[in-house]
Symmetry: C2
Subunit: 217 residues, 2 copies
Protein backbone atom coordinates (compact mmCIF):
# COMPACT_ATOMS: atom_id res chain seq x y z
CA UNK A 1 0.00 0.00 0.00
CA UNK A 2 1.20 3.46 -0.94
CA UNK A 3 0.20 6.67 0.85
CA UNK A 4 -0.28 9.79 -1.28
CA UNK A 5 -0.14 13.32 0.10
CA UNK A 6 -1.05 16.34 -2.00
CA UNK A 7 0.26 19.84 -1.49
CA UNK A 8 -2.91 20.62 0.45
CA UNK A 9 -2.53 17.50 2.63
CA UNK A 10 1.03 18.56 3.49
CA UNK A 11 -0.04 22.09 4.47
CA UNK A 12 -2.74 20.68 6.76
CA UNK A 13 -0.44 18.32 8.70
CA UNK A 14 0.20 19.09 12.36
CA UNK A 15 3.38 21.18 12.56
CA UNK A 16 5.66 18.72 14.37
CA UNK A 17 4.38 15.77 12.28
CA UNK A 18 5.12 17.71 9.09
CA UNK A 19 8.61 18.61 10.32
CA UNK A 20 9.39 14.93 10.99
CA UNK A 21 8.00 13.82 7.63
CA UNK A 22 9.58 16.50 5.43
CA UNK A 23 12.92 16.10 7.21
CA UNK A 24 12.73 12.35 6.49
CA UNK A 25 12.08 12.39 2.78
CA UNK A 26 15.33 14.02 1.69
CA UNK A 27 16.91 10.70 2.66
CA UNK A 28 20.17 9.74 4.28
CA UNK A 29 22.53 12.50 5.33
CA UNK A 30 25.56 13.00 7.49
CA UNK A 31 25.51 14.32 11.02
CA UNK A 32 28.33 16.83 11.43
CA UNK A 33 29.44 18.87 14.41
CA UNK A 34 30.40 22.42 13.52
CA UNK A 35 32.91 23.98 15.90
CA UNK A 36 33.44 27.74 16.18
CA UNK A 37 34.99 30.33 18.45
CA UNK A 38 34.06 33.99 18.97
CA UNK A 39 36.34 37.00 19.38
CA UNK A 40 36.34 36.55 23.16
CA UNK A 41 37.51 32.93 22.74
CA UNK A 42 34.16 31.43 23.74
CA UNK A 43 33.61 28.21 21.81
CA UNK A 44 30.43 26.80 20.33
CA UNK A 45 29.52 23.39 18.95
CA UNK A 46 26.34 22.46 17.08
CA UNK A 47 25.13 19.47 15.10
CA UNK A 48 24.07 20.07 11.49
CA UNK A 49 22.72 17.53 9.05
CA UNK A 50 22.65 19.80 6.00
CA UNK A 51 26.34 19.83 5.04
CA UNK A 52 26.84 19.15 1.34
CA UNK A 53 29.51 19.01 -1.36
CA UNK A 54 29.74 22.05 -3.63
CA UNK A 55 32.93 21.43 -5.58
CA UNK A 56 36.31 19.71 -5.50
CA UNK A 57 38.52 22.40 -7.08
CA UNK A 58 38.41 24.67 -5.22
CA UNK A 59 37.23 22.35 -2.43
CA UNK A 60 33.97 24.00 -1.38
CA UNK A 61 31.45 22.84 1.18
CA UNK A 62 28.04 24.28 2.05
CA UNK A 63 25.50 24.04 4.84
CA UNK A 64 22.14 25.58 5.71
CA UNK A 65 21.39 27.71 8.77
CA UNK A 66 17.81 28.17 9.88
CA UNK A 67 16.76 31.69 10.86
CA UNK A 68 15.59 31.37 14.47
CA UNK A 69 17.48 28.56 16.07
CA UNK A 70 20.40 27.78 18.34
CA UNK A 71 22.46 27.46 15.18
CA UNK A 72 22.65 31.26 15.14
CA UNK A 73 25.65 31.24 17.50
CA UNK A 74 27.49 29.18 14.90
CA UNK A 75 26.70 31.67 12.14
CA UNK A 76 27.60 34.71 14.24
CA UNK A 77 30.98 33.18 15.10
CA UNK A 78 31.71 32.25 11.49
CA UNK A 79 30.94 35.76 10.28
CA UNK A 80 33.15 37.32 12.96
CA UNK A 81 36.15 34.95 12.90
CA UNK A 82 35.88 33.39 9.39
CA UNK A 83 36.99 29.91 10.41
CA UNK A 84 35.07 26.82 11.48
CA UNK A 85 35.51 23.08 11.74
CA UNK A 86 33.24 20.33 10.42
CA UNK A 87 33.61 17.07 12.35
CA UNK A 88 31.96 13.76 11.43
CA UNK A 89 29.70 12.23 14.06
CA UNK A 90 30.60 8.61 14.75
CA UNK A 91 28.90 5.83 16.68
CA UNK A 92 30.81 6.60 19.89
CA UNK A 93 29.72 10.25 20.18
CA UNK A 94 26.31 10.37 18.49
CA UNK A 95 24.35 10.95 21.71
CA UNK A 96 26.62 13.82 22.72
CA UNK A 97 26.38 15.23 19.19
CA UNK A 98 22.57 15.09 19.32
CA UNK A 99 22.65 16.86 22.69
CA UNK A 100 24.46 19.90 21.22
CA UNK A 101 21.10 20.82 19.63
CA UNK A 102 19.72 21.77 23.06
CA UNK A 103 19.20 25.50 23.65
CA UNK A 104 22.17 26.31 25.83
CA UNK A 105 22.75 29.98 26.67
CA UNK A 106 25.46 31.90 24.81
CA UNK A 107 27.98 31.63 27.63
CA UNK A 108 27.73 27.84 27.89
CA UNK A 109 30.01 26.00 25.48
CA UNK A 110 28.44 22.82 24.12
CA UNK A 111 31.93 21.30 24.27
CA UNK A 112 31.84 21.55 28.04
CA UNK A 113 28.14 20.73 28.40
CA UNK A 114 28.46 17.50 26.40
CA UNK A 115 32.03 16.64 27.45
CA UNK A 116 33.39 16.65 23.93
CA UNK A 117 37.00 17.80 23.73
CA UNK A 118 38.26 20.92 21.96
CA UNK A 119 41.33 20.23 19.84
CA UNK A 120 43.53 22.97 18.35
CA UNK A 121 46.18 22.13 15.75
CA UNK A 122 48.23 23.43 12.84
CA UNK A 123 47.43 27.05 13.73
CA UNK A 124 43.74 26.70 12.94
CA UNK A 125 41.75 29.19 15.00
CA UNK A 126 38.52 27.18 15.45
CA UNK A 127 38.29 24.11 17.69
CA UNK A 128 38.11 20.59 16.24
CA UNK A 129 36.26 17.81 18.07
CA UNK A 130 39.01 15.48 19.33
CA UNK A 131 36.66 12.44 19.38
CA UNK A 132 35.76 12.85 15.70
CA UNK A 133 37.77 10.70 13.26
CA UNK A 134 37.27 12.90 10.21
CA UNK A 135 37.88 16.60 10.76
CA UNK A 136 37.63 19.40 8.24
CA UNK A 137 38.97 22.94 8.71
CA UNK A 138 37.01 25.47 6.68
CA UNK A 139 37.52 29.12 5.77
CA UNK A 140 34.32 31.12 5.30
CA UNK A 141 33.79 32.36 1.73
CA UNK A 142 30.20 33.52 1.24
CA UNK A 143 26.71 33.57 2.70
CA UNK A 144 23.64 33.52 0.51
CA UNK A 145 20.23 34.50 1.89
CA UNK A 146 17.42 32.30 0.60
CA UNK A 147 14.44 34.63 0.63
CA UNK A 148 11.84 31.91 0.03
CA UNK A 149 12.01 30.87 3.68
CA UNK A 150 14.67 32.94 5.44
CA UNK A 151 17.31 30.22 5.55
CA UNK A 152 20.96 30.98 4.85
CA UNK A 153 23.44 29.02 2.75
CA UNK A 154 26.96 29.25 4.20
CA UNK A 155 29.83 28.36 1.84
CA UNK A 156 33.43 27.75 2.83
CA UNK A 157 36.68 26.43 1.41
CA UNK A 158 38.39 23.41 2.92
CA UNK A 159 41.85 24.42 4.14
CA UNK A 160 42.68 21.53 6.46
CA UNK A 161 41.67 17.89 6.37
CA UNK A 162 42.33 15.04 8.82
CA UNK A 163 41.34 11.38 8.43
CA UNK A 164 42.50 7.94 9.62
CA UNK A 165 45.43 6.88 7.44
CA UNK A 166 44.08 3.33 7.06
CA UNK A 167 40.76 4.49 5.56
CA UNK A 168 41.91 5.92 2.23
CA UNK A 169 41.77 3.97 -1.04
CA UNK A 170 44.42 4.17 -3.77
CA UNK A 171 42.10 6.34 -5.88
CA UNK A 172 41.37 8.93 -3.16
CA UNK A 173 38.03 7.48 -2.03
CA UNK A 174 37.78 7.78 1.75
CA UNK A 175 36.04 4.90 3.54
CA UNK A 176 34.01 6.86 6.07
CA UNK A 177 32.21 3.67 7.08
CA UNK A 178 35.53 2.20 8.26
CA UNK A 179 36.15 5.51 10.06
CA UNK A 180 32.94 4.78 12.04
CA UNK A 181 30.98 7.73 10.67
CA UNK A 182 27.25 7.10 10.95
CA UNK A 183 24.32 8.10 8.75
CA UNK A 184 21.34 10.11 9.92
CA UNK A 185 17.69 10.31 8.83
CA UNK A 186 14.92 12.69 9.78
CA UNK A 187 15.65 14.84 12.80
CA UNK A 188 16.76 12.20 15.26
CA UNK A 189 17.51 8.76 13.76
CA UNK A 190 21.06 7.36 13.56
CA UNK A 191 22.25 4.40 11.49
CA UNK A 192 25.34 2.27 10.98
CA UNK A 193 26.04 1.17 7.42
CA UNK A 194 27.29 -1.82 5.41
CA UNK A 195 28.82 -1.22 2.00
CA UNK A 196 27.15 -3.08 -0.88
CA UNK A 197 29.79 -2.06 -3.43
CA UNK A 198 31.53 0.72 -5.26
CA UNK A 199 30.52 0.93 -8.92
CA UNK A 200 32.70 1.80 -11.91
CA UNK A 201 32.37 5.12 -13.76
CA UNK A 202 29.18 5.03 -15.86
CA UNK A 203 29.52 4.92 -19.65
CA UNK A 204 26.67 4.66 -22.17
CA UNK A 205 27.43 1.25 -23.67
CA UNK A 206 28.57 -0.76 -20.68
CA UNK A 207 26.94 -1.91 -17.46
CA UNK A 208 28.49 -0.61 -14.22
CA UNK A 209 30.78 -3.13 -12.53
CA UNK A 210 31.89 -3.51 -8.95
CA UNK A 211 35.17 -1.67 -8.39
CA UNK A 212 38.00 -3.82 -7.06
CA UNK A 213 40.21 -1.31 -5.30
CA UNK A 214 42.38 -1.43 -2.24
CA UNK A 215 43.37 0.71 0.68
CA UNK A 216 46.54 2.74 0.25
CA UNK A 217 47.96 1.03 3.36
CA UNK B 1 47.58 7.12 12.50
CA UNK B 2 45.99 10.30 11.19
CA UNK B 3 46.71 11.83 7.78
CA UNK B 4 46.78 15.64 7.55
CA UNK B 5 46.31 17.54 4.30
CA UNK B 6 46.82 21.30 4.10
CA UNK B 7 45.15 23.60 1.61
CA UNK B 8 48.29 23.37 -0.53
CA UNK B 9 48.33 19.55 -0.34
CA UNK B 10 44.70 19.47 -1.53
CA UNK B 11 45.42 21.76 -4.49
CA UNK B 12 48.35 19.55 -5.55
CA UNK B 13 46.38 16.28 -5.56
CA UNK B 14 45.79 14.57 -8.91
CA UNK B 15 42.42 15.75 -10.23
CA UNK B 16 40.50 12.47 -10.06
CA UNK B 17 42.02 11.57 -6.67
CA UNK B 18 40.95 14.95 -5.30
CA UNK B 19 37.43 14.53 -6.69
CA UNK B 20 37.07 11.16 -4.94
CA UNK B 21 38.44 12.49 -1.66
CA UNK B 22 36.52 15.75 -1.50
CA UNK B 23 33.30 14.01 -2.54
CA UNK B 24 33.86 11.51 0.31
CA UNK B 25 34.37 13.88 3.20
CA UNK B 26 30.92 15.47 3.18
CA UNK B 27 29.74 12.11 4.50
CA UNK B 28 26.66 10.00 3.93
CA UNK B 29 24.07 11.28 1.51
CA UNK B 30 21.07 10.03 -0.40
CA UNK B 31 21.12 8.92 -4.01
CA UNK B 32 18.06 10.34 -5.77
CA UNK B 33 16.85 10.00 -9.32
CA UNK B 34 15.48 13.24 -10.76
CA UNK B 35 12.91 12.73 -13.49
CA UNK B 36 12.00 15.45 -15.98
CA UNK B 37 10.25 15.95 -19.31
CA UNK B 38 10.80 18.59 -22.00
CA UNK B 39 8.22 20.47 -24.06
CA UNK B 40 8.41 17.80 -26.76
CA UNK B 41 7.62 15.09 -24.19
CA UNK B 42 11.14 13.66 -24.20
CA UNK B 43 11.98 12.37 -20.73
CA UNK B 44 15.24 12.51 -18.82
CA UNK B 45 16.45 10.77 -15.68
CA UNK B 46 19.65 11.52 -13.75
CA UNK B 47 21.10 10.52 -10.40
CA UNK B 48 21.95 13.31 -7.94
CA UNK B 49 23.47 12.95 -4.51
CA UNK B 50 23.19 16.58 -3.49
CA UNK B 51 19.48 16.81 -2.61
CA UNK B 52 18.92 18.48 0.76
CA UNK B 53 16.20 19.72 3.07
CA UNK B 54 15.54 23.46 3.03
CA UNK B 55 12.38 23.82 5.06
CA UNK B 56 9.21 22.06 6.18
CA UNK B 57 6.67 24.88 5.87
CA UNK B 58 6.60 25.54 3.00
CA UNK B 59 8.12 22.15 2.17
CA UNK B 60 11.22 23.17 0.22
CA UNK B 61 13.95 20.97 -1.20
CA UNK B 62 17.20 21.95 -2.89
CA UNK B 63 19.87 20.33 -5.06
CA UNK B 64 23.07 21.37 -6.80
CA UNK B 65 23.69 21.25 -10.55
CA UNK B 66 27.25 21.33 -11.85
CA UNK B 67 27.95 23.63 -14.81
CA UNK B 68 29.27 21.34 -17.52
CA UNK B 69 27.77 17.93 -17.01
CA UNK B 70 25.05 15.60 -18.22
CA UNK B 71 22.92 17.02 -15.47
CA UNK B 72 22.31 20.02 -17.73
CA UNK B 73 19.40 18.25 -19.46
CA UNK B 74 17.71 18.01 -16.08
CA UNK B 75 18.12 21.74 -15.44
CA UNK B 76 16.97 22.75 -18.91
CA UNK B 77 13.81 20.66 -18.54
CA UNK B 78 13.06 22.05 -15.08
CA UNK B 79 13.39 25.62 -16.30
CA UNK B 80 11.12 24.99 -19.29
CA UNK B 81 8.41 22.83 -17.67
CA UNK B 82 8.71 23.78 -13.97
CA UNK B 83 8.02 20.29 -12.61
CA UNK B 84 10.31 17.42 -11.65
CA UNK B 85 10.27 14.29 -9.56
CA UNK B 86 12.77 13.18 -6.92
CA UNK B 87 12.82 9.40 -6.44
CA UNK B 88 14.79 7.53 -3.75
CA UNK B 89 17.30 4.99 -4.99
CA UNK B 90 16.81 1.62 -3.29
CA UNK B 91 18.87 -1.56 -3.19
CA UNK B 92 17.01 -3.12 -6.12
CA UNK B 93 17.71 -0.32 -8.62
CA UNK B 94 21.02 1.19 -7.49
CA UNK B 95 23.03 -0.12 -10.46
CA UNK B 96 20.50 1.28 -12.93
CA UNK B 97 20.47 4.55 -11.01
CA UNK B 98 24.27 4.78 -11.17
CA UNK B 99 24.12 4.11 -14.90
CA UNK B 100 21.93 7.21 -15.52
CA UNK B 101 25.12 9.26 -14.96
CA UNK B 102 26.52 8.05 -18.31
CA UNK B 103 26.67 10.67 -21.06
CA UNK B 104 23.70 9.64 -23.18
CA UNK B 105 22.74 11.96 -26.07
CA UNK B 106 19.78 14.31 -25.66
CA UNK B 107 17.40 12.10 -27.63
CA UNK B 108 18.08 8.98 -25.53
CA UNK B 109 15.93 8.77 -22.42
CA UNK B 110 17.77 7.29 -19.46
CA UNK B 111 14.48 5.63 -18.52
CA UNK B 112 14.67 3.54 -21.66
CA UNK B 113 18.46 3.07 -21.58
CA UNK B 114 18.40 1.71 -18.02
CA UNK B 115 14.99 0.02 -18.19
CA UNK B 116 13.51 2.03 -15.37
CA UNK B 117 9.78 2.66 -15.77
CA UNK B 118 8.13 6.07 -16.22
CA UNK B 119 5.09 6.49 -14.01
CA UNK B 120 2.55 9.32 -14.41
CA UNK B 121 -0.08 9.94 -11.75
CA UNK B 122 -2.36 12.52 -10.16
CA UNK B 123 -1.93 14.90 -13.10
CA UNK B 124 1.74 15.50 -12.41
CA UNK B 125 3.54 16.42 -15.62
CA UNK B 126 6.98 14.91 -14.88
CA UNK B 127 7.61 11.16 -14.78
CA UNK B 128 8.12 9.30 -11.51
CA UNK B 129 10.32 6.20 -11.33
CA UNK B 130 7.89 3.31 -10.80
CA UNK B 131 10.56 1.16 -9.07
CA UNK B 132 11.26 3.81 -6.44
CA UNK B 133 9.42 3.39 -3.13
CA UNK B 134 9.56 7.03 -2.07
CA UNK B 135 8.58 9.53 -4.75
CA UNK B 136 8.43 13.31 -4.46
CA UNK B 137 6.73 15.65 -6.94
CA UNK B 138 8.34 19.09 -6.95
CA UNK B 139 7.41 22.45 -8.43
CA UNK B 140 10.35 24.66 -9.41
CA UNK B 141 10.62 27.88 -7.36
CA UNK B 142 14.04 29.46 -7.81
CA UNK B 143 17.55 28.97 -9.12
CA UNK B 144 20.53 30.62 -7.47
CA UNK B 145 23.86 30.90 -9.27
CA UNK B 146 26.85 30.28 -7.03
CA UNK B 147 29.55 32.41 -8.57
CA UNK B 148 32.40 30.92 -6.53
CA UNK B 149 32.49 27.86 -8.79
CA UNK B 150 29.69 28.14 -11.35
CA UNK B 151 27.36 25.63 -9.68
CA UNK B 152 23.63 26.27 -9.45
CA UNK B 153 21.30 25.73 -6.51
CA UNK B 154 17.82 24.65 -7.67
CA UNK B 155 14.99 25.08 -5.15
CA UNK B 156 11.51 23.60 -5.43
CA UNK B 157 8.37 23.10 -3.38
CA UNK B 158 7.05 19.61 -2.67
CA UNK B 159 3.54 19.30 -4.11
CA UNK B 160 3.12 15.51 -4.17
CA UNK B 161 4.51 12.82 -1.91
CA UNK B 162 4.25 9.01 -2.09
CA UNK B 163 5.61 6.48 0.40
CA UNK B 164 4.87 2.94 1.61
CA UNK B 165 1.99 3.11 4.09
CA UNK B 166 3.70 0.70 6.51
CA UNK B 167 6.82 2.89 6.87
CA UNK B 168 5.40 5.93 8.66
CA UNK B 169 5.63 6.38 12.44
CA UNK B 170 2.88 7.92 14.58
CA UNK B 171 4.88 11.17 14.84
CA UNK B 172 5.42 11.63 11.09
CA UNK B 173 8.94 10.15 10.95
CA UNK B 174 9.29 8.12 7.77
CA UNK B 175 11.38 4.95 8.05
CA UNK B 176 13.28 5.17 4.78
CA UNK B 177 15.46 2.24 5.86
CA UNK B 178 12.36 0.01 5.93
CA UNK B 179 11.44 1.43 2.51
CA UNK B 180 14.79 0.01 1.27
CA UNK B 181 16.37 3.38 0.48
CA UNK B 182 20.17 3.11 0.52
CA UNK B 183 22.89 5.55 1.54
CA UNK B 184 25.67 6.74 -0.73
CA UNK B 185 29.24 7.95 -0.12
CA UNK B 186 31.77 9.53 -2.42
CA UNK B 187 30.92 9.32 -6.10
CA UNK B 188 30.19 5.61 -6.39
CA UNK B 189 29.77 3.75 -3.08
CA UNK B 190 26.39 2.39 -1.93
CA UNK B 191 25.46 1.19 1.55
CA UNK B 192 22.58 -0.48 3.36
CA UNK B 193 21.88 0.73 6.89
CA UNK B 194 20.88 -0.52 10.34
CA UNK B 195 19.18 1.87 12.73
CA UNK B 196 20.92 2.35 16.08
CA UNK B 197 18.10 4.41 17.57
CA UNK B 198 16.01 7.52 17.41
CA UNK B 199 16.85 10.04 20.12
CA UNK B 200 14.48 12.31 22.04
CA UNK B 201 14.39 16.08 21.48
CA UNK B 202 17.49 17.63 23.06
CA UNK B 203 17.03 19.83 26.13
CA UNK B 204 19.80 21.47 28.20
CA UNK B 205 19.35 19.63 31.49
CA UNK B 206 18.54 16.09 30.40
CA UNK B 207 20.39 13.40 28.49
CA UNK B 208 18.84 12.27 25.19
CA UNK B 209 16.89 9.01 25.48
CA UNK B 210 15.96 6.42 22.91
CA UNK B 211 12.53 7.16 21.47
CA UNK B 212 9.99 4.35 21.82
CA UNK B 213 7.60 5.00 18.98
CA UNK B 214 5.56 2.81 16.71
CA UNK B 215 4.45 2.61 13.12
CA UNK B 216 1.07 4.13 12.35
CA UNK B 217 -0.06 0.75 10.99
Amino acid sequence: MQTFLSSQNIVELEKRYRANLINSITGFKNANLIGTIDEENRTNLAVFNSVFHLGANPALIGFIVRPDSVERHTLENIISTHHYTINHVNKIIYKKAHQTAARYPRDVSEFRATRLTEEYKNNFKAPYVAQSHIQIGVQFKQKIDIELNGTILVIGEITQLYFPSNCIFTDGFLDIEKAETIACTGLDSYHTTTRISRLSYAKPDTEPEELKLNYLE
